[in-house]
Symmetry: C2
Subunit: 244 residues, 2 copies
């Protein structure tokens, strides 16, 4: 599995993804699931992927026009007129890749499934974030629905629901993302280090702060241990039930 989160904040977007990939439990390796396209002053587009690795890598390769010689590449994802059009492009590509992979081949459609979070900004528009389904259609993050999770999302959801607020700072949002990932990492083997993080500051139209968290990162360790302790303390402060 995988765990990826995209947050839509007032001041911009934040993305975090794990890097664990596995076929069964013994064929485990590490792969980046965060892809970015940048044309400074014009656009910054970031894509997070969960699902079949062959599908997600093929989608990205097509978006980057890897089938053409390097000099002839002119990825249309660099020329879409809006984020909505970008989501349509990615959605169509996903649908096409899954259709091709499952057409007359060995396995069922489900095995090739993949889901994406797409976020960014194209000059002339606002920051936008979409969740793109394997069917190629998508939904957009709104005031009522300001974050998306894909992959192994259940363990890390309760803290997001409770602590997220759209006017939080990037620094506080980093803490929130790490707590959410830490809850997932401690409960599920299929999500693993390193964790990739990217910040997009609204109207920057260029890459923002990026960091890869390793398991021995000192800030991650403080959050992980601190959160365990803080949870226990929080739990202690609640009154015990009275049984009679």
């Amino acid at each position: 599995m995988t765990y990826c989160v995209g947050l839509k904040l007032d001041r911009g977007l934040m993305f975090m993804s794990d890097t664990r990939t596995n076929a069964g439990v013994d064929n485990v390796s590490s792969v980046r699931k965060m892809y970015s396209w940048e044309k400074p002053g014009d656009r910054l587009i970031t894509l997070l992927s969960a699902g079949n690795l062959a599908t997600t890598q093929t989608v990205v390769s097509i978006l980057e026009e890897h089938m053409k010689p390097v000099d002839d590449r002119s990825p249309s994802i660099m020329d879409t007129p809006s984020m909505f059009a970008t989501a349509q492009l990615v959605g169509e590509t996903v649908r096409e890749v899954i259709k091709t992979a499952s057409d007359g081949g060995l396995q069922s459609e489900a095995a090739f499934s993949a889901t994406f979070i797409l976020g960014g900004q194209v000059a002339g528009g606002d920051t936008r974030m979409f969740l793109i389904y394997p069917e190629g259609n998508f939904i957009e993050a709104t005031q009522d629905n300001p974050f998306f999770q894909i992959g192994e999302h259940k363990y890390g959801k309760p803290i997001l629901v409770r602590a997220f607020h759209k006017d939080m700072s990037f620094e506080e949002a980093t803490k929130l993302l790490l707590v959410s990932f830490d809850s997932t990492l401690t409960s599920n083997l299929s999500v693993g280090f390193p964790l990739d993080m990217q910040v997009y500051r609204r109207d920057a139209l260029a890459r923002g702060f990026e960091k890869r968290f390793l398991p021995d990162d000192s800030y991650y360790r403080r959050i992980s241990e601190g959160w365990s302790d803080a949870l226990r303390v929080a739990f202690e402060t609640l009154p015990d039930f009275e049984m009679n």
Copy 2:
């Protein structure tokens, strides 16, 4: 879906289950998923169920010999020589029911699937708790694995992992169960009130404290609201990331 938890504590066993059952999202109703058999001085056996309701109700009906006239019933679950033998009996019944339901019928085996938590004590033995799979085999709770969850288990797992300790009191364990259920209830529509709780005090060989929590229960409300606040406070106490 469903959410049920069984805890194996030093001082006994605790069980909690929700009561939501649904076929799709509009055919929602409430059904008890906790069943107990008691012969005071000899045994107390409790069964929690998750999965296809037709399967789980049939399993319980067979265990209670509902196919016989009332006067002729002599459920073998009241006569098993040990908890292990009880787990074998339940496991065989589950396998048989699923096999019969899926044999030549309309749907795949998966649709009839069900999982159970079985716990209790039979005179002469210690308290024991088992997780029984749809295949009819089972695993037992141990020191390393002192609680079982079935159904929608992911949201409520992180707090169990962090706050459970086997020498906790029943009063504190009630708090833990409610926090775990509250995290699940706030994240997933398929788990719902009321919540049934049962306490089994080691060597009592009889029913212990039982309670059905309704959404307006004053203790539940204190825990739910208190936990939201406590989580936010805990989150505040952690240091923000420093981005540079």
